[in-house]
């Protein structure tokens, strides 16, 4: 109540009229992936991606000079990127003020000012107030009363200062505003667009491998996350696939100062518990720390695709990247993750192979299982695949079972797609240098499965087969591609 009165007074004190736009009428958001995240999973408590927010707002401007404040913008806004259109020539300047109302700022603004000192008796509860002037706030508070100078909260008494008004220029949140000048009162539709940090997105692929292991039923979620404390309601939502350059730009955070209360040195000879001091301790540093985001929930396991119809994102070209548009308006709530269907490819032909890369030397290890396909219509694909993670499922007695997990980078149409999904524990490679000839290696592959397995071994360009197989050159490597029989072995001798 008192605060409201005080605010009113502060506003009146300002020379120019203040017009406040409380929120957007329409909002569109385009979410961009964190370019540095690589293939790491989405980290909900630290989203390194960003978003472009475009809003329209209806404002009424008085004649003359006024300050138009935009409320309900995200707190991750990059103020340098804000674009305000629709006001024409009226705009004088754009401002973003980050001096926040905090205990320390209130106290700092009171320096040299008359305030009220309130003491409450711990014995009787009696409240006494008196006038005081704040003399120092730098490192402990010194106040002056009619009696003389005192240090606040060094006496062991319950005492505090009451300010009379909110100092001008302090706000609850960093504020974006434009200073405008209009010859007459007008009503305008203003478009505000800005880049904001703390958003991210990725594709989450869910693959169901057929029993024979050659067909994948592929579905993908567009998973987008908003780590900001501002939600975007009923937003036209897009996501951009591809890697865009970003510069490191320092955004001044809101400055919230704590109050520091320091007293003179005190010592004691007694071991009496100092209850009042303990209370002092409690109040010595009043830190106005920003609210910490709670521990982010672990990333949701990829959920099963819903029914076959529903909403699916529409893809289009945007310059040299791809834009995915969610065809309906959705609410991107504050601190939340949202999933919409991205693509659905019912029958993708895949090869499931095992892969080893070695340059010689002793080894004895299981092999990596890799799903290989080509992003072409012939293989049941042929559409851009944005970077993300893949959960690979098989079926056992009518139930899904997780076979492996992997991640893929952005793949365009026509590219070869390889996804490492698991380590095959029963298909192993053992390699030993052969003693008699320098550089000769003996490589043995063993397969404990009841099906034959295709294994690709990539060797350096200098490698030459001695016996057991043939090496062919492929993409800068010498390749030994071999089908290891069911419950059998294969062996290669080569020289590097």
């Amino acid at each position: 109540m008192a605060l409201a009165l005080a605010l009113g007074a502060a506003v009146q004190a300002q020379a120019q009229a203040i017009v406040t736009s409380r929120g957007p009428d329409q909002v569109a958001v385009t979410v961009y992936r964190n370019p540095d995240r690589g293939l790491d999973p989405l980290n909900l408590s630290w989203l390194g991606g960003y978003a472009l927010v475009s809003e329209t707002r209806r404002v009424r401007l008085p004649a003359g000079e006024s300050e138009l404040r935009f409320e309900a913008v995200t707190s991750g806004i990059v103020p340098q990127s804000a674009i305000v259109t629709g006001l024409g020539e009226a705009v004088i300047e754009k401002n973003r003020d980050a001096r926040l109302l905090s205990p320390g700022a209130l106290l700092d603004a009171s320096l040299g000012e008359r305030v009220t000192l309130r003491r409450t008796s711990r014995a009787t509860g009696a409240v006494r107030t008196q006038d005081a002037i704040v003399r120092a706030t730098a490192n402990g508070i010194v106040i002056q009363t009619e009696q003389g100078l005192e240090a606040l909260r060094c006496s062991g008494l319950a005492e505090t200062l009451l300010a009379r008004a909110v100092p001008p220029g302090l706000s609850a949140k960093p504020t974006l505003s434009v200073r405008v000048r209009s010859p007459q009162a007008v009503e305008r539709t203003v478009t505000l667009s800005y880049i904001t940090n703390n958003f991210d997105w990725q594709a989450d692929y869910v693959g169901d491998l057929s029993a024979d292991g050659h067909t994948l039923k592929l579905f993908a979620w567009l998973t987008l996350a908003n780590g900001d404390d501002t939600g975007l309601a009923d937003a036209a939502t897009q996501a951009v696939a591809g890697k865009l350059n970003r510069e490191r730009i320092w955004v001044p955070r809101g400055e919230a100062k704590p109050i520091t209360l320091n007293c003179w040195p005190s010592g004691t000879t007694s071991d009496i518990p100092q209850t009042y001091d303990a209370m002092d301790q409690e109040g010595i540093v009043v830190t106005a720390s920003r609210m910490k985001a709670g521990m982010a929930p672990p990333p949701a396991p990829p959920s099963a695709p819903v029914f076959e119809g529903g909403v699916i994102a529409q893809e289009e070209r945007l310059g040299d990247v791809r834009l995915y548009r969610i065809p309906i308006s959705v609410t991107v709530a504050a601190r939340s993750q949202k999933q919409v269907a991205l693509l659905r490819q019912p029958a993708v032909k895949v090869d499931s192979i095992l892969r080893l890369r070695t340059a010689g030397g002793q080894l004895d290890q299981p092999l990596e299982r890799v799903l290989v396909t080509r992003n072409r219509p012939a293989e049941g694909l042929g559409l851009p695949l944005p970077a993300g993670r893949l959960a690979l499922f098989g079926t056992r007695q009518g139930h899904r079972i997780l076979l492996g997990e992997g991640s893929i980078d952005d793949h365009t149409i026509g590219e070869k797609v390889e996804i490492r999904v698991a380590t095959a524990t029963g298909v192993r490679a053992r390699q030993l240098p052969v003693a008699e000839t320098a550089g000769d290696q003996a490589l043995t592959l063993t397969n404990d499965l009841a099906q034959p397995q295709t294994v690709e071994v990539e060797l350096p360009l200098e490698a030459k087969a001695v016996s057991g197989g043939r090496l062919v050159k492929r993409d800068g490597w010498m390749l030994w591609r071999v089908r290891v029989p069911a419950n059998g072995t294969a062996q290669l001798r080569y020289r590097v």
Binding site: S54, I272, G319
Partner: protein, 503 residues
């Protein structure tokens, strides 16, 4: 709460603290006619013309509302008929501990409160020492302050003259007569910085773009500058410790200078802007208040329909194989010249590029930082990576070559003044092994339009030669060669090249 405030104001009227000097509220600034000149490297020059009421002769003047980060050594004060005796910057701050320290040997009033009844008793105490605790004399007793933990207020009679609530600049001056006169205070301060921000809306089909330029200035100096006349200087001055580089410092958070790339060719035209020495000047059109912790943007450039084009660039760092095709850089190319471009010099800053999506809404397609760019420069900004255009460099073969083969490629030609040419073989150490590397670059394009990729192979220092290639290259430097690779729509082009190397 409301009652207490009303009560408080009533008391304020009833019992004015008349003995204390009046301190104006923060809205009444002590600043006069203020002019702020801001450089890129987080530094500013403040000129503050104040009206001072000076007594004749020597007096000490305190200057409030100067930058909280003022560099006191750079302060100068000038005015008609005044002489400076001395300048002081006092940072002996008024704190409870300092107050107690300065009270040693003096008497203070002690008010004890009975914890059970709240009753107060008042005594005078002589402070004997303040060393890890306060030792004092009350009558004939020696006591340690608050040793018993009982609440005790210490009331000091006055503020020691040397203690100040904030670091304070004071000047002692000699005036030739009394009265009000203007004096000019100038000083340097960190905490103010500026950079440019550009919004480029690029239309790929027409090859045009609209560019708006904004001056973005930030104030983290801890002080507002009220109704200031503001000038921005595109450059960094002084601060030799930082090499005079454009630190792009935003409020004491300097980041690396803008990358030197992005400018293909430095321009040689002069922009129609005010200049001083080496620097372009950008005065703000009207006076403005630069609040503390404020980011302020003012428009300075608005160009419509400048020509611009997309290009593709890829640089392979050394003769190596990539495990998968790598996206090429998507580069926005334009000029800052008068005839074919933006027609202005561009102060350092960030260029944000937007393109319209299928529904006509502008979407962000990447950003890039530029350094101070003269007018007439050719600029190429790598705004992102192309989703559809990729290069896969592959080492196809690596082997040795004989000295003879090596030698055949080591020749140069001398043109004599009589027009005769002579071919000279470079002397080589005999009996060494030399290497050859066959490279294959698969340049693919999944987009429905043909593109040209500027493919650069770097890492060619140490006498590396291109002896065979499927497409004519141009040598950019000792380290780099470049091919202009045309790639058809939805197709690929393979470039092969053989290099001889010494290592």
């Amino acid at each position: 709460m409301r009652a207490s405030i009303i009560l408080a104001s009533a008391i304020a009227v009833a019992t004015p603290l008349a003995a204390q000097p009046q301190i104006p509220s923060p809205s009444q600034t002590a600043q006069g006619d203020i002019a702020v000149t801001i450089y890129n490297n987080n530094r500013a020059l403040i000129e503050d013309k104040r009206q001072l009421d000076l007594p004749a002769g020597r007096s000490r003047q305190e200057f409030r509302d100067v930058s909280a980060q003022i560099e006191p050594a750079t302060v100068t004060l000038s005015g008609r008929g005044i002489g400076i005796v001395e300048q002081n910057f006092d940072f002996d701050l008024l704190t409870p501990a300092a107050l107690m320290q300065k009270a040693v040997g003096q008497t203070v009033t002690l008010v004890r409160t009975n914890p059970a009844t709240g009753a107060e008793t008042r005594e005078r105490a002589l402070i004997l020492a303040v060393n890890d605790g306060v030792v004092m004399q009350i009558g004939d007793r020696i006591e340690v302050l608050r040793d018993d933990g009982i609440p005790a207020r210490v009331i000091f009679d006055k503020v020691p003259a040397t203690l100040r609530p904030r670091p304070t600049l004071s000047v002692t001056l000699d005036a030739d007569g009394g009265g009000r006169r203007p004096v000019t205070l100038t000083y340097l301060t960190p905490g103010l910085a500026w950079a440019a921000d550009y919004v480029a809306l690029f239309d790929e089909t027409s090859g045009r773009m609209d560019v708006q330029g904004w001056i973005t200035l930030t104030n983290n100096s801890g002080t507002p500058y009220i109704n200031a006349s503001t000038l921005l200087v595109a450059g960094a001055v002084g601060n030799a410790g930082n090499g005079g580089e454009d630190q792009y410092g935003r409020g004491g958070y300097p980041s690396s200078p803008p990358p030197p790339n992005g400018m293909y060719r430095a321009g040689t035209e002069s922009a129609a802007r005010e200049r001083l020495g080496d620097f372009y000047l950008y005065p703000l059109p009207e006076r403005t208040t630069i609040a503390d912790k404020q980011t302020k943007q003012v428009s300075f450039l608005d160009v419509h329909g400048a020509s611009a084009a997309r290009g593709y660039e890829f640089r392979n760092g050394w003769l190596s194989t990539a495990n998968q095709p790598l996206s090429v850089n998507s580069v926005l190319r334009f000029s800052s010249s008068r005839s074919a471009g933006l027609g202005d010099a561009l102060p350092a800053g960030t260029v944000r590029v937007y393109q319209r999506d299928a529904r006509g809404n502008p979407q962000f397609v990447g950003e890039h930082r530029i350094g101070h760019t003269p007018m007439g420069s050719d600029i190429g900004l790598a705004t992102g990576q192309a989703f559809d255009v990729k290069v896969r460099p592959i080492v196809d073969n690596r082997g040795t070559v004989t000295f003879e083969q090596w030698r055949q490629t080591a020749r140069y030609r001398i043109w004599r003044s009589d027009g005769q040419a002579e071919v000279v073989d470079v002397e080589q150490p005999v009996g060494r092994t030399f290497y050859q590397t066959q490279m294959r670059y698969v340049v693919s394009n999944a987009s429905p339009k043909p593109v040209t990729v500027d493919l650069v192979q770097a890492g060619l220092s140490w006498d590396t030669r291109v002896v065979e290639e499927s497409l004519k290259s141009e040598k950019l430097s000792a380290d780099d060669v470049r091919w202009h690779v045309p790639v058809p729509a939805n197709g690929e082009t393979v470039v092969t090249a053989t290099f001889y190397t010494r290592y």
